[in-house]
């Protein structure tokens, strides 16, 4: 089958402002991913098209973009899953500075990520046998969902509160804080809750629910944010 692509192009060294580039591809299969189409445009039609991708299997989180109006990973989005009948519209995720075409600057995003202490702070000294700290299956399950984050920024850049203010720490950082806040072995819960209780922390979330369907890992993002809000109010359980 034949598909048309509309891709948001912008080269800051050349272009005054972004524009839509249009490309037509033939011999396309419904099982092709959007990333494969983008690669074909780059390799067969216009080598200047710039995008970020690495593993191409939905693990590295490099190729988040807005496809047909919704944030997704290009590599895990198959044509049969979207409406490819008219034109597939592809643009960079919103809220981070565009470096070129579909590549955005993740530095602000990672700064928010780092601000929530996204690493294990042991609550107890190393066990005397030098081995792991035990955790019940129930305690492990408490934060299982939020371990799945690949930091692709699909959720954060789908959030109208983040569009409104890049100062907002954003869904992804809260998800990664959640992963440690609800870890029974971790000892920095209160520090993280204090960080997220700041004006640019969880209170900027308006429970809009754009982030949840945007997550390619199907993390229950808004739920995680809600649990952190309640933990700030009532203490983590």
């Amino acid at each position: 089958m034949e598909v048309k692509l509309r891709i948001r192009r912008f080269n800051p060294e050349k272009d005054q402002k972004p524009y839509w580039g249009e490309y037509t591809l033939t011999d396309v299969e419904p099982t092709d991913s959007v990333l494969e189409l983008l690669n074909r445009v780059k390799w067969e039609q216009d080598g200047t098209l710039t995008l970020r991708r690495s593993c191409a299997h939905g693990v590295c989180g490099s190729d988040a973009m807005r496809i047909n109006g919704r944030n997704r990973l290009a590599c895990t989005t198959l044509l049969q899953a979207i409406d490819a009948s008219k034109v597939i519209q592809i643009e960079p995720i919103l809220g981070l500075k565009v470096i070129k075409d579909l590549v955005t600057d993740f530095e602000a995003f990672f700064e928010h990520y780092r601000s929530v202490m996204p690493y294990f702070v042991p609550a107890t000294p190393v066990p005397s046998n030098g081995r792991e700290r035990y955790q019940s299956q129930a305690d492990r399950a408490r934060f299982d969902d939020t371990t799945k984050c690949i930091l692709c920024a699909c959720c954060t850049t789908s959030c109208p509160s983040f569009w409104a203010s890049g100062q907002y720490v954003g869904p992804a950082a809260i998800v990664n804080a959640h992963r440690f806040i609800f870890d029974s072995r971790d000892g920095a819960t209160n520090q993280r809750l204090n960080i997220l209780a700041e004006p640019d922390g969880v209170w900027r979330c308006r429970t809009i629910f754009n982030c949840t369907p945007a997550c390619p890992r199907e993390i229950e993002v808004t739920r995680a944010i809600g649990e952190v809000k309640l933990a700030i109010q009532q203490g983590a359980r």
Binding site: R70, S161, W163, A164, I195, W203, I208, T222, G226
Partner: protein, 339 residues
């Protein structure tokens, strides 16, 4: 400001699910309600402080232009209440997030289902009133009064901007406001939800009395029973209507003053804090942001003081006589009390 434009255009472009639209309507309805709230508290305080103006205000509320706005206002309040309950529910039960799309749909359906009979009843009041061939406030008068409000709001904002600019000259704007984990935002988050929950029955009762069961037109109906009391509005003056309500005692308590005072305090804090959220979302220039925050905080406080002042002062004899003089009716305060 730039992010306000981005948010508007991109919300229209982003294919968020229904929750995104719930949020859009929640914000828009909230902003509309706050605007009316400010006008309404100021107007109603005139019953106590400027009785000669109060009749004109009610007369304007009874004009077709405001009737249109009244229908929109009631719809906005019903939607904001329903969706607010959905937000409260999901915020306190995050694990039920998967119900949110259904809940958002139910909110739209429930709003529509409630609006139909409510608008129907409001329409009968309108039809009755228009059937009597009333004298409406002229469009010119309405624009004249309302433009004064508009100019007043603009002046307040401009003054705040100038003061904020002067403040920045004296105190200087730090490049980035110091971040601190304050309890205020956590406290206000909880307040928004608890107050929202309490406001719903209060405001629905208020709407039922003033817009649905009896309408804005009944405020000036002579010899009609004043809703929520056993008294009659002998003169048919709006001032008497307000006075009878506020002076109505049940077991020695002026219940409508308590009711109005509670509603006033909850709604103003809830509404103006909502306004603060909008301001802080979209206005990032430190001078503008500080100015708007001042307007919100001092504006909200002023409204509460004004409203509470009117409730405490009540409609006094002098106010009543002024209203009577203006209306050219021969009545005395004593017959009002007697009625």
């Amino acid at each position: 400001m730039a992010t306000l434009v981005t948010t508007i255009t991109e919300t229209l472009r982003y294919r968020g699910k229904i929750g995104q639209w719930s949020w859009v309507f929640h914000r828009l309805s909230g902003l509309g309600i706050v605007l009316f709230l400010a006008l309404h508290v100021i107007d109603t305080s005139w019953a106590a402080f400027y009785p000669e103006l109060y009749a004109d205000a009610i007369n304007e509320y009874q004009s077709p232009l405001f009737t249109l706005g009244e229908f929109a206002l009631v719809a906005a309040i019903i939607y904001h209440a329903m969706n607010g309950l959905r937000i409260i529910f999901l915020d306190y039960r995050p694990h039920l997030w998967h119900l949110q799309q259904k809940a958002a749909t139910y909110v739209f359906v429930a709003t529509a289902v409630i609006i139909v009979p409510v608008w129907g009843m409001m329409a009968t009041h309108v039809a009755n009133f228009w059937g009597d061939d009333p004298e409406f406030a002229s469009l010119g008068d309405i624009l004249n009064t309302q433009s004064q409000f508009l100019i007043g709001f603009i002046v307040i904002v401009l003054v705040a901007l100038v003061l904020s600019f002067l403040y920045s000259l004296v105190a200087g704007d730090e490049k980035k406001a110091p971040k601190r984990a304050s309890q205020i935002d956590a406290w206000l988050w909880t307040f928004m939800r608890i107050s929202g929950f309490l406001i719903v029955p209060l405001v629905f009762g208020h709407l039922a009395m003033m817009h649905v069961i009896s309408g804005v037109f009944d405020i000036t109906a002579a010899d009609a029973t004043v809703i929520g009391t056993s008294a009659t509005n002998d003169t048919g003056l709006a001032v008497e209507f307000v006075g009878e309500r506020w002076d109505h005692l049940v077991a020695g308590v002026a219940i409508w003053r308590v009711y109005d005072g509670l509603l006033l305090a909850l709604v103003v804090v809830h509404g103006f804090n909502g306004l603060r959220y909008v301001v802080n979302d979209y206005f990032h220039n430190p001078i503008v942001n500080r100015a708007f925050n001042w307007v919100v905080v001092f504006g909200g406080a002023a409204l509460i003081i004004l409203g509470m002042g009117a409730l405490l002062a009540g409609v006094e004899e002098t106010a009543f006589n002024i209203a009577i003089d203006k209306a050219g009716i021969s009545q005395t305060f004593n017959t009002w009390l007697g009625g």
